[in-house]
């Protein structure tokens, strides 16, 4: 027979242990946070509108004359002040490590008073939850989709906060970087044809032509792509759409697309950037597209079995390696092209889809880029947020820091590329749209 006393006893023990652990931990460690959010310091008075300093030399040249460390602070901000409180944001998975790092820096700078909690729920969910007003800010790999934007047009602002680049990694044991000491050259046309299943083997003359002096093996190409919906796929396919007309006519672009290579050749899907990265590492004669960091963190492993490709920018005809300078140059050139085409820089409260299209396949620089956009409301009180004024103060403090100090190399995570100055200033202007 069961001992009648034993049940309550063990339940009680478990309960006591759990409660004690929870209370002790939360009580001891939550001290600095939590309490009512009372802004201890007011926001620094909005800097007299960040005058878009005439920038004369954004484009061309593979090695821009201004190397990274000299990125001048857009304006001399006083040491940032941070209020006490917390913000909740969510969205793109890609930007999560960077957001997390910014959040931690601000947490430390504020002495633990300012918590920005960002969760990677995916770009689509980020936009949706922001529009539902469940999040203080949203982040996405693509601008707010047009149909959704039209419903809230004039009420929200969006601006880029960081750039990512997408690299083409390949696995050809005979031609690994370790063996031959060089990386392959690829063009938008060849990449498109591989993923369209038209180029089936590495020794295809269209690839061979780009890589004279390299003996490509006659092996079938395994074209690895994402199986899940992804901003990386959106940016990658948008680039091919812009750069190679037949791709535009047959495949198009989006979070997910139908890959002709799956039927016509050896195309295969993998989940997540980490899945594609792993599949290319372990599958001989494969090619894949991943965010820069997934290559950079495994560079030695890739060099042992293959490498990362130089990609030709069709507009200036040069091959670019995905370095920080080349990607920043590409972003600046894309923005400049937008300005020429539309007569002015984009404003933060307009539809940004045309802007993202101009960023893709830019006139010069490394051509495959992915931006992360942040969504904010113009008037948090009117949108029905509780404690709107506190929230706005916190949001402005956080993103002002992100767009200035946050773009310095010591605050940018490996694999992410800081914004060119003109773009950071657009973001700062967006903050002035947000009503205090």
């Amino acid at each position: 027979m069961p001992n009648p006393i034993s049940n309550p006893k063990i339940l009680a023990i478990i309960a006591v242990v759990v409660i004690a652990a929870v209370i002790a931990a939360s009580f001891a460690l939550m001290q600095p946070s939590g309490q009512q959010t009372t802004p201890t310091t007011p926001t620094p008075p909005p800097q007299t509108t960040p005058s878009p300093q005439p920038t004369t030399q954004p484009q061309t040249t593979t090695q821009p004359t201004t190397p990274q460390p000299t990125t001048p602070p857009p304006q001399t901000t006083p040491p940032p002040t941070f209020s006490r409180g917390s913000l909740t944001g969510g969205g793109a998975t890609f930007v999560a490590p960077q957001m997390f790092t910014w959040s931690r820096r601000v947490y430390e700078l504020s002495g633990g008073a300012f918590q920005v909690n960002y969760q990677s729920i995916g770009s689509g969910a980020g936009a949706a939850q922001f529009l539902e007003k469940k999040l203080d800010f949203g982040a996405s790999d693509v601008p707010m989709p047009r149909e959704r934007f039209e419903k809230v047009s004039g009420r929200m602002v969006q601006f880029p906060v960081i750039i990512g680049s997408i690299v083409m990694v390949y696995n050809i044991p005979e031609l690994s970087y370790k063996k031959v000491g060089k990386y392959l050259n690829l063009t938008s046309e060849v990449i498109s044809l591989i993923y369209m299943g038209e180029i089936k083997q590495w020794c295809d003359e269209r690839i061979q032509k780009l890589n004279p002096g390299v003996k490509l093996p006659c092996r079938d190409i395994v074209a690895v792509h994402r199986s899940d919906g992804s901003g990386t796929t959106a940016a990658f396919t948008l680039y091919l759409t812009r750069a190679y007309q037949p791709w535009n006519e047959t495949v198009g672009w989006g979070y997910t697309v139908r890959w002709p290579a799956d039927e016509k050749a050896k195309g295969t899907g993998a989940k997540g950037n980490e899945g594609v990265a792993q599949a290319v590492l372990t599958t001989s004669y494969s090619i894949g597209y991943v965010e820069f960091a997934y290559w950079a963190k495994n560079r030695d492993k890739y060099d042992a079995v293959g490498g990362v490709a130089y990609v030709k920018n069709d507009n200036d005809g040069k091959y670019y390696f995905p370095t920080e300078q080349n990607v920043m140059a590409g972003a600046a050139a894309g923005l400049e092209r937008y300005r020429r085409k539309y007569g002015s820089y984009p404003t933060p409260d307009q539809d940004w889809n045309p802007v993202s299209i101009e960023f893709s396949n830019p006139p010069s620089g490394y051509p495959i880029m992915a931006f992360t956009y942040v969504f904010l409301w113009k008037d948090y009180a009117a949108e029905g947020y509780a404690d709107a004024s506190t929230r706005v103060t916190l949001l402005k403090q956080f993103f002002r820091w992100v767009l200035t100090d946050g773009q310095k190399s010591e605050n940018v995570v490996e694999g992410f590329i800081p914004l060119p100055r003109e773009l950071a200033e657009l973001g700062l202007r967006a903050l002035d749209f947000v009503k205090s």
């Binding site: 478990i14 759990v18 939550m30 917390s86 469940k134």
Partner: protein, 300 residues
């Protein structure tokens, strides 16, 4: 010949049994070898209290996530038992009634439900009800805080859309059918003699069912409770849009972290330190689950 066949058969079963548990031990050993070295590297004991590492850090931990997991699992388990146990008694002891059959069908469906839909249900529930319940909760919170002190506000107050209680509710809904079905089958297996005896000595029906008969099945029910608790401790999907996740210590009325959510995120990143923290977090979670599991086995 027959003896030899017997030996061969037994050997075959032994091999099959070994193969069946092999993955389990492989997982446990893998998680612990990688997890413990990761924990040591990331700060040893402080791994249990620190906030998670950014790609720049080389130290970090699962503090806020551990607190969130323990709190939500505890609340979810309590709520799950409070609702699941009486339901199980009804289904098991009064199984001839129409509504008991009806409930059994419902519970059987619920146990197979994709857990993420439970999370969505709770999300929707909180979406529409917060406006109405928040003024009340704030009133209670202020009243309690004036009596007991400000710490009350870490637990009770106006709720954000994402909070620990939403997470706990989702976990409770997942737990209910486990407890109910185990309880029902335990009650159904009570012999008729025992039941008659219980009714004879207990007086009122309530006492017969909930006090006398309960003692006959308490071991099975307790095991069910503990197994259910172990299950919900490791759930990720129902927490996505309810607790949402948080990497800082925050009041339970706001977005709350949980270990499975962190593992899910960190394992996908390319940064070694975050991947290591995911292994460490997995070891911590596995320890919690195994501890509960062994507690359940010991009671049986």
């Amino acid at each position: 010949m027959r003896k030899q066949l017997n030996t061969v058969g037994l050997a075959l079963f032994a091999v099959l049994a070994f193969l069946a548990v092999l993955p389990l031990f492989h997982i446990i050993i893998d998680v612990y070898t990688k997890g413990i070295s990761a924990i040591v590297e990331l700060g040893g004991l402080s791994f249990l209290f620190d906030i998670p590492p950014t790609p720049y850090d080389n130290k970090g931990g699962v503090g806020p996530l551990l607190v969130g997991t323990l709190y939500m699992t505890f609340l979810g388990a309590v709520l799950g038992v409070l609702l699941g146990f009486p339901l199980g008694v009804y289904i098991g002891e009064f199984r001839k009634e129409f509504f008991a059959n009806f409930s059994r069908g419902g519970v059987n469906i619920l146990v197979e439900f994709p857990t993420i839909t439970v999370g969505l249900f709770v999300y929707a529930l909180f979406s529409i009800s917060l406006v109405d319940i928040n003024p009340m909760l704030e009133g209670i919170s202020n009243a309690l805080a004036s009596v007991a002190g400000g710490w009350v506000k870490h637990f009770i107050g106006g709720l954000s859309q994402f909070n620990a209680y939403a997470g706990a509710l989702a976990l409770a809904i997942i737990m209910i059918p486990y407890v109910a079905l185990f309880t029902a089958s335990a009650y159904a297996s009570i012999e008729q003699n025992t039941r008659e005896a219980a009714y004879a000595i207990a007086g009122r029906e309530y006492r017969a069912v909930f006090i006398v008969l309960r003692k006959a099945v308490s071991r099975a029910v307790l095991a069910a409770v503990l197994l259910g608790t172990a299950k919900i401790a490791g759930e990720t999907a129902p927490l996505l849009f309810t607790a949402f996740g948080n990497v800082y210590y925050a009041p339970f009325t706001e977005a709350t972290g949980a270990i499975p959510l962190w593992i899910w995120y960190a394992a996908q990143t390319p940064y070694e330190v975050q991947i290591a923290s995911a292994y460490g977090a997995a070891a911590v979670l596995l320890t919690i689950v195994l501890a509960i599991f062994f507690a359940a086995r010991l009671r049986q």
